[in-house]
């Protein structure tokens, strides 16, 4: 069978009657090409349906048109959102996405990715929690001089560009929603202490309580680990006593689902006997009854914004500080919350 030789820049150059370098210039949007010439080249590209070869580009030039995504997030939904958001933005810009799951518990964790960086020459990487907060990883990336953008990082914000949302304000809004419904006895389940978002969300909760002049009952603020199980257990202690909250704010959806499960088991009806809210808007939040009131994180948008920074190369602001982007969240009111009965 005849090998299908693909169309090269030479073919385009010949067709347009210019040198390959000029075609290259047009393709890379370099300045100093006459409009006339540019159009002729573009026409030839169209006609031949020419697509540049990424390998050749990356070998010859300094860009690989490849962006890596490292992740070690236990939530598949989160990862999928990230991929989706990033890949869409990448596609627009002619970039492609390389996914690399990482096992951050492995001892040789950082060494897993150095070979990849060396082999692929990615133009940048996109880091999501929790790996985006690993100093080891960040150091390795810095050493390899690979640009990176962090999504929802926790601290060390001056270290590199990042994209985030206002967890604190979101938690405050959610708390206000509960208070607006008449709730005063609100329990809070904290997230994994290693995740920065946990602290932000707790702060937001406390802030809003204070702003509304509602006291926080410290024995109703319990530790969780972002897992269904931890939410389930936290809720059991929270709800077992006669003296129990009328609403529970879990720091993420998985734990909120645990709360709902615990409530079921204790024969409490949600939302009649207990309002429950979560944070994240995972797919599971809609797969229970009652469907969960929660905060929708703009995960895909954050990933897209991060990809944007990487592609445009705007990793620092004019004064040299790391660039950042703040995206909006959304309070999604569903069926797990209800005004406190008289």
């Amino acid at each position: 069978m005849e090998a299908v030789r693909s169309i090269t820049i030479n073919d385009v150059a010949a067709k347009a009657g210019v040198s390959i370098k000029t075609v290259s210039r047009v393709l890379n949007r370099e300045p100093n090409v006459k409009d006339d010439t540019r159009e002729r080249v573009l026409a030839a590209v169209q006609e031949l349906n020419y697509k540049p070869n990424v390998s050749a580009r990356s070998l010859a030039g300094s860009r690989s048109y490849l962006i890596g995504v490292f992740f070690d997030n236990p939530s598949p939904a989160y990862n999928a959102d990230v991929h989706m958001g990033a890949v869409l933005r990448c596609r627009e810009a002619g970039y492609h996405l390389l996914v690399e799951p990482l096992d951050s518990t492995a001892a040789d964790f950082a060494s897993q990715l150095i070979p990849m960086l060396a082999t692929l020459r990615v133009d940048g990487v996109l880091l999501t929690p929790p790996v985006c907060d690993s100093p080891v990883l960040l150091d390795a990336l810095d050493a390899a001089q690979v640009p990176y953008v962090r999504v929802a990082p926790d601290g060390q914000l001056d270290r590199a560009a990042y994209v985030h949302m206002d967890d604190r304000r979101a938690a405050a809004e959610m708390t206000s929603h509960l208070i607006g419904l008449g709730h005063r006895d609100i329990g809070f389940i904290k997230g994994h202490p290693d995740h920065g978002a946990s602290h932000l969300r707790e702060e937001g909760f406390r802030e809003a309580m204070k702003a509304h002049g509602v006291a926080v009952r410290e024995d109703w603020v319990v530790q969780g680990w972002f897992s269904f199980q931890s939410g389930f257990e936290a809720a059991k202690t929270l709800l077992a006593a006669k003296d129990r909250p009328t609403a529970v704010f879990a720091s993420n959806d998985d734990m909120a689902l645990g709360v709902i499960a615990a409530a079921h088991q204790l024969r409490l009806t949600v939302p009649d006997d207990l309002s429950v809210v979560g944070f994240d808007d995972t797919p599971s939040a809609r797969m229970v009854w009652p469907q969960l009131t929660t905060i929708r994180q703009p995960i895909a948008n954050m990933a897209a914004a991060a990809a944007d920074l990487l592609i445009s190369g705007e990793m620092t602001t004019e004064d040299g500080a790391p660039a950042s982007r703040l995206l909006d969240f959304e309070l999604v009111v569903r069926d797990s919350t209800k005004p406190l009965k008289g």
Copy 2:
């Protein structure tokens, strides 16, 4: 700052005192290299921590060491599992994974990916449901002469290599589990009619019922669309009547969760008043109370096996038929099933 020139094959060749071609031979496991020489080269590679440049390899040779994953699956958990399984196997073999979400509802659906194939020169692609059953996509891939392996395809099995599990037998086993628990009045919620798995699962259900001599009540076999909502609605009709099944087999977990939600709403207790089972073992299956009895699909393993076929190039059996691999499922018994009370 001094540019960090990375280590090339030249450096290794110099250090080992051989030509670059010999290094290349060692790296590619080509024959006709003296053991002595091979060891010397390997030592130099180790010492310099040399990593071949994928772009150069792909440009010069015929392989890109890149594998693409196309997907358009609504379930993020499914996609994540696929990525994970595939990427792990790829890593072992020095390959990398490129993810490409596809919008199969878009009109120019196939044209989205042709550029990518032309640009990236991937060595193969991995197709998951539902895109793995798109004739348009398959045709495009054939035309572009890109090898591909399908995961859990529906029909046209003689068209290309694939990896699958026995949906029918799994459904039969699940049904037997229910019957073994004493259930005779079993409702069944069908999956999306466009998914091949739907039919297989229904067949397995009917087979097992027949094998145990239990009649299928056709009015208890209702259509669903694999979504929570469709399961919820199907369950409402199923459970509303006085004369209702004691167990419901939903063709996937999302629908099973819908059934549980509907049961809650109707004040039926699962599993005391009703046993519910699903299929897939999604993360959500464990985030409800009671946790769902379901079938664990070996998604990651299927993806790994598919990557395996792609990498090894064993796309056809000796007699020219497409290669295939059958993987095992697992029946996971949790809390949503219970022996029928006396």
